[in-house]
Subunit: 279 residues, 2 copies
């Protein structure tokens, strides 16, 4: 008998939940708007909105609607200015954790710190953080990348993309210290929901034979969960939908763990559970 | 043939050199003073001063002189007040690097940070730092000690005793990050002379068969050098004087490295070299 375990929490994260609620509220009010980028990294949800006429646009100019929704990832201030200059209104669904990263990064730059942003280069959230930090900020993902910089004698300010692992932060700061900076000031901008989800995934992965992560393959937070699962479970797979499940993954398994990313609808996780039960 | 290598730098450190110069200057001016604690952790130098009537006192009240010299380690503000209240003058030989630690610790406390001082509990320098930080500051030497604290959600400010190893700082900060603090602000108060000396000792230790560290056994910085030597050389010994040298240490050695602590007179190091050459 295959035993399947789900963590206590596999809902949308707070920021995504809030963005979706805001979008649905405006939709129900009959508002005319597009979303700047996919509202969440989930093809099913994106499709649901598209069917109701809400398009995913890549730049403010593409929109023919009266309003533009900024998703939970946030945008640089120039994008906000651009939308305003086009005479359009903004529905701001930027996650408050991301806003904290914006404010912290800007504050560090304004106080004279050399800014490091721990995150993925070109990730929309990172681009937003950099924008709010007056375009400053060097993006690094680990200590190795810090070695390319010269931080000796500098006041180094650090924030991270909200979904970064504790490990990334520790590795970057350890490398920064090696360079003998004058000061290191790290403002914690990791999101607590993400951290709880990462911890729950780690604990679950340790108990199971196979770990299934359900979520968008382009989603940063989902990929972090997949990394954790690979490290702690004998086998781990990242899928976007139950259709990708392969019976051979479960041949020798007695216990299977399933969880979803911050933007994975809980019903997708439950659907995967249902299908595995039938295998 | 035994080969003996000395590092480029084995002089007194800047702060000790400065304290000794200040003391000698006042001595040559015929000033009457005592030193609060040993001016440097070196029995030979202490004896030299004692022979000229300059006594080592343990508290300001013990002095019968007109002036009291504060050595490079520094003292808490209460000690300065005490000396003044006794109507005595101060010869302040506090190392500027230690003063930077005082100022940084005070600033962090005044800006609302929960202060950690990386250092040895009850070390005179640490007592001085704590005093200048309004009596605040939790003293920790490594990450394990950080685990005893609850730093979750706190703004954590960190300074270190000037002679701490980079490793101590990295280990403490890694452990602090694990607790999910709101912010971590580390002001680098490690002394650059100490760091250079530590790096030079590490490089030298890697090249030799036996490493000899010459310095006071109670000296914090000398003990750090000894730790580094033990880690990187096949054998390492800490001695206060050439009289402690044992011929059997060098029986199988082809290359010997010698260095001294921040308060080791260079002639002591050269004397050790001379004796080893004769072995």
């Amino acid at each position: 008998m295959l035993k399947i375990i789900l963590p206590d929490e596999y809902n949308f994260c707070f920021g995504v939940e809030r963005a979706l609620e805001l979008a649905r509220e405006h939709m129900n009010n009959g508002d005319s708007f597009d979303t700047l980028g996919e509202i969440i990294h989930n093809p099913h949800v994106v499709k649901e909105f598209e069917e109701k006429g809400i398009k995913v646009i890549n730049s403010p100019e593409e929109s023919t609607k009266r309003k533009i929704l900024i998703r939970s990832h946030g945008v640089p201030p120039e994008t906000i200015e651009k939308i305003k200059s086009l005479g359009k209104e903004i529905i701001d669904a930027t996650c408050p954790f991301v806003k904290h990263a914006h404010d912290s990064a800007r504050k560090l730059v304004e106080e004279g710190y050399f800014l490091l942003i721990i995150g993925k280069k070109y990730h929309p959230e990172v681009i937003g953080i950099q924008g709010h930090a007056h375009g400053k900020g060097c993006v690094v993902i680990n200590g190795e990348e810090v070695e390319q910089l010269n931080l000796r004698g500098k006041k180094v300010g650090i924030v991270s993309q909200t979904t970064m692992l504790l490990w990334n932060v520790q590795d970057v700061i350890t490398a920064v210290l090696k360079q003998n900076p004058k000061e290191v000031r790290y403002i914690n901008t990791r999101c607590s929901t993400t951290e709880r989800r990462q911890n729950a995934t780690r604990e679950l992965a340790k108990k199971v034979d196979v770990m299934i992560i359900v979520g968008g393959k382009h989603s940063s937070n989902t990929n972090r969960l997949y990394e954790i699962a690979k490290e702690h479970a004998p086998a781990a797979y990242l899928i976007e939908s139950y259709e990708e499940l392969k019976p051979e993954w479960f041949e020798k398994a007695r216990i299977v763990g399933i969880t979803g990313g911050a933007s994975t609808p809980p019903q997708d996780v439950l659907k995967v559970k249902e299908i595995i039960e039938k295998i």
